[in-house]
Symmetry: C2
Subunit: 198 residues, 2 copies
């Protein structure tokens, strides 16, 4: 399965590289690709400068589209060109996974309408204000609704991707990856200790 | 405090970007720098291509030297040029932090001799064989001995760096970062469920 990671400036570091560590350990199943609208170097305020390819190099069929969050989301949600391109990518994707405030970008495409989704818990008041047709889950480590997977803040993306791996290839494959990276996998998507109180 | 991350090809993704996510959230305290022996693009088998600066651009005084692990370690431990450069960097560093098999590189410098240290638990039999003058801890999420901090496998680096932040700036600063990234911080360095049985 090819995984297209859509990057933009001011993406959140661990939103990207947590999932990369999970999927990257299973090269027999997954092939990671790093893309951005313009291609070239993408940066964030952690001093990360990452090489990406442009949209022209994206395969005709995307198995997994992965959307991180981060400060840059606050700009990109209002960028029609970005959202239009995201819509085109979703159309040719089999699965769409967002981490943290990446779900704000998905909400802007309309594809989450009438679906259940979640986001970073501290950012959820803002994210949910963007599109009230989405059923925003206030207490969830991650949410899967059809082919759309949305995770809570940053490190929750690691738990969601391990769950995705377990669904696709069985529990033993996922738990072996967690063991290799000595990660305390939160397997229960309802185990959300970071939910805000109402 | 400046943080110099010493990169090499085939570094482990999360060894680097877990700590980056922690320190990067505290720009009032930490400035992250990405370096490699030659400078330029550094890559790994997860398809990550990261821009780095060469050694000439490293400050005269390093506050924190951060050494990741990864497949590349198996090559670099036998590269005298790499180890000699690492020794020179340690000499001008105030703190040295390694993640996962990064401690194998530190062991080769001799700086861990007679010190307590740890490493990735699945790799520990190999790592400990490199230098038996090191007191290798078989059960530890991370170990701090003087100014040398060594963590267990991959995600243990996140716990160690949160602990380092707590020591430097207080517990509240560290727990706030953990909360922002919705991370279940393992605060107790002796809480090591990945230790191999004897």
């Amino acid at each position: 399965m090819n995984i297209v990671i859509l990057l933009f400036n001011e993406f959140e570091t661990l939103d990207v590289f947590g999932p990369v560590e999970i999927f990257g350990r299973l090269p027999q199943y997954y092939n990671l690709r790093y893309h951005s609208l313009q291609g070239g170097m993408i940066s964030n305020h952690h001093g990360v400068h990452l090489q990406t390819e442009g949209l022209d190099f994206i395969p005709d069929k995307i198995d997994i589209l992965l959307i991180p969050g981060g400060r840059g989301v606050r700009k990109e949600v209002h960028d029609k060109h970005f959202i239009d391109n995201l819509i085109a990518l979703i159309r040719k994707s089999n699965y769409v996974l967002s981490i943290c405030t990446g779900s704000a970008l998905l909400a802007q495409t309309g594809y989450l309408n009438n679906k259940h989704a979640t986001s970073n818990k501290l950012a959820l008041p803002w994210v949910s204000s963007l599109n009230q047709k989405v059923h925003w889950n206030k207490r969830a480590r991650w949410v899967a609704d059809g082919n759309f997977y949305t995770s809570s803040g940053v490190s929750a993306g690691i738990d969601m991707c391990l769950c995705f791996v377990a669904e696709q290839h069985g529990y033993q494959v996922a738990i072996q990856v967690a063991k290799e990276i000595e990660y305390h996998w939160i397997e229960d998507r309802l185990n959300d200790t970071f939910a805000l109180s109402d």
